[in-house]
């Protein structure tokens, strides 16, 4: 009888400990929306119709949006999302845009009038500058989302391709 009690007690104690450990390591705290967001390209370009990748991920998780609205991610992202969610791979819905090569923004510093409009548009704070002073893009942080292009009153921002050459043989 005592043995049974002891063993039951032990089992309960270990169970409780395990559940505490499980809780604290936090591996389980990632939500579906987190997992979806990790597969999105994080360009934050809003072409999907949501104001960034995270809101789009939330919408997919809530079953409010299909998985084929992200042009920067293109087929690759759709495949990965389909894999995660157990859905069928569907082609990109081109009303949201076409997949383009990687690019970074470049401000022609001679033309910039320092209006700061582009700073407010940039979703990842990749533009540096101050009122009436020249602005510049931090190339390593720019996602190439193009959101800074329309607000610029003097059209001095261009997108340059990021070249990646694969040396063969």
């Amino acid at each position: 009888m005592i043995a049974v009690l002891v063993i039951t007690g032990l089992a309960l104690a270990i169970g409780a400990m395990l559940s505490v450990i499980h809780h604290h390591t936090g591996n389980n705290t990632e939500t579906l929306s987190d997992s979806i967001n990790r597969l999105l390209p994080q360009t934050q370009c809003a072409q999907c119709g949501y104001p960034g990748c995270r809101p789009y991920a939330d919408a997919i998780a809530a079953d409010e949006a299909p998985i084929n609205q992200c042009p920067p991610g293109g087929t690759h992202t759709i495949e990965q999302l389909a894999g995660l969610l157990g859905r069928e791979v569907i082609p990109l819905n081109s009303t949201f845009g076409e997949t383009k090569p990687d690019a970074v923004a470049f401000i022609d510093e001679m033309t910039c009038i320092g209006c700061t409009l582009c700073i407010h548009a940039c979703p990842v704070d990749a533009i540096l500058g101050a009122g009436k002073f020249m602005h510049t893009v931090i190339a390593s942080e720019c996602t190439g989302c193009e959101l800074c292009l329309p607000p610029c009153p003097v059209d001095c921002i261009t997108l340059l391709p990021v070249t990646r050459s694969v040396a063969t043989s």
Binding site: Q44, R54, L160, V162, S169
Partner: protein, 459 residues
């Protein structure tokens, strides 16, 4: 941009890239157009140098003379900043030395094991200047504060061994070791293992096991800079291959077009018929095809192989014979890697799992493969793809972080604004006490406004 540089002077500032000293008196320089190409993938043209063939007579003039002590320590440092490894990888020497000063390095390995067939530029350097090489090694020891240097050289290079022995006589701290002449012992990690018995950790660098590795030509260039004040503006290049009548080692200034080197070594080749030959840049095992006719000699260009094009046997399918697995000097499974790096679908996760990073691109697996599969070339492409995907991942992480930070900031600002307005409202409410003249006046006005709106709305 117009500027008149001098030999050994700086080219236009270009990122952090080392080894961009002017090889010759230059008249003008221009930069290639796109400033946003990332370093690793940059095209081969860094700057275009026009010159009139004159070498400056006094390359030291702006930096001072190390011999009479007029060169400042900062000039010393600047010079080291622009030295770069001549071994083939082209690492920045300054960074390597700096890493040695901060960790517990106890040995310098000087790599004279030129194990690829045909390559002989380091041997030529030893025959030309064994004494200066030893000086360079001493300077490296002095500069890094390390007590011991080991030179590794293949045992059949008897002339070079005796020259080095002679130059090393009565010197402490530097020892010469002969190794079995078997490809690819000259590769960094294998040489370290053979000489010190230490294993460079997976995903690590030689410094993680207490070693810094320098090519013998790098040691020489370092000594020449420290003692004579001459910066590194040229290197010895082996020109060989079955299209070359008399294979030779030639000293070539950085920036000279490769085609020009070839046509001057082999008179039967000219720029018109060069297209008929296969040009390999680097050794016969690890080299790659020339990028284009405008490719130039850099610190990394140790060898040029010019061959009559051989009839290439077409690659067949892998028959799973396992021979590639047996020869791989770093114990990888090329057969598996081949499967995961197929053109149609490069499987990055699996390549990582099978340690593609560890492949030293030695080419041994290609040589034994009975199906003539160009394994090494395939791995090279896959490595770039792997790197790209990691870079992309890192950028996406950064973008996500910055996006979240910005969202939080905007939200905080919104809240702060709302809080400010609310605080001001309560403050104002205090001054508008119910019952006071102002209060009744305002209440009346509100009532009137509501009444008139109610009257006007039904229509």
């Amino acid at each position: 941009m117009k500027s008149r540089g001098f030999r050994g002077g700086l080219t236009l500032p270009l990122d952090e890239s080392p080894a961009l000293l002017l090889p010759i008196l230059d008249l003008t320089q221009s930069l290639p157009p796109n400033p946003h190409q990332s370093d690793r993938h940059r095209s081969n043209t860094d700057a275009v140098i026009n010159h009139d063939g004159q070498h400056d007579t006094d390359p030291l003039k702006s930096l001072g003379d190390p011999i009479n002590g007029t060169r400042s320590p900062s000039a010393d440092r600047a010079g080291i900043e622009h030295l770069c490894g001549l071994g083939g990888a082209g690492f920045s020497l300054a960074r390597k030395i700096a890493s040695g000063q901060h960790s517990n390095i106890d040995t310098l390995i000087i790599n004279a094991a030129e194990c690829e067939p045909m390559m002989a530029c380091d041997q030529a350097l030893i025959r030309e200047s064994a004494a200066a090489i030893v000086h360079g090694i001493e300077d490296l020891l002095h500069h890094t504060g390390v007590m011991r240097a080991m030179i590794g050289i293949e045992s059949h290079r008897t002339t070079e061994i005796s020259l080095l022995r002679h130059a090393l006589a009565h010197r402490r701290g530097i020892t010469l070791h002969t190794i079995e002449p078997r490809y690819p012992t000259g590769s960094e990690s294998l040489l370290i293992r053979v000489l010190t018995g230490r294993q460079v950790p997976v995903d690590g660098l030689p410094r993680d096991c207490g070693v810094l590795c320098f090519n013998i030509a790098t040691a020489h260039a370092f000594g020449v800079w420290m003692r004579e004040g001459l910066s590194q503006t040229s290197r010895i290049v082996t020109v060989a291959g079955n299209a070359i009548d008399t294979p030779r080692n030639v000293r070539v200034a950085f920036g000279v077009p490769i085609t020009q080197v070839i046509t001057s070594v082999e008179p039967t080749i000219d720029s018109a018929n060069l297209k008929q030959y296969e040009v390999t840049v680097g050794g016969p095992m690890t080299g790659r095809a020339m990028h284009g006719i405008d490719e130039t000699i850099t610190a990394k260009t140790n060898c040029l192989i010019i061959d009559q094009p051989a009839e290439a046997l077409p690659a067949r399918r892998c028959i799973r014979c396992g021979q590639c697995n047996d020869v791989c000097p770093v114990n990888l499974l090329p057969q598996q890697l081949h499967w995961y790096a197929r053109d149609s679908q490069i499987m990055l996760d699996d390549l990582q799992r099978f340690h593609l990073d560890q492949c030293i691109e030695c080419g041994c697996c290609d040589v034994v493969c009975p199906s003539q599969i160009p394994l090494t070339a395939q791995f090279r492409v896959a490595k770039v793809a792997l790197d790209d995907s990691r870079e992309r991942e890192a950028r996406a992480d950064l973008a996500a972080q910055r996006y979240t930070a910005r969202e939080l900031r905007l939200k905080r600002r919104e809240q702060e604004k709302a809080a400010r307005i609310a605080a001001r409202k309560t403050e104002l409410a205090k001054t508008r006490k119910p019952g006071s003249d102002r209060h009744t006046a305002i209440q009346d006005a509100i009532k009137r406004a509501k009444a008139s709106r109610a009257k006007g709305s039904p229509g």
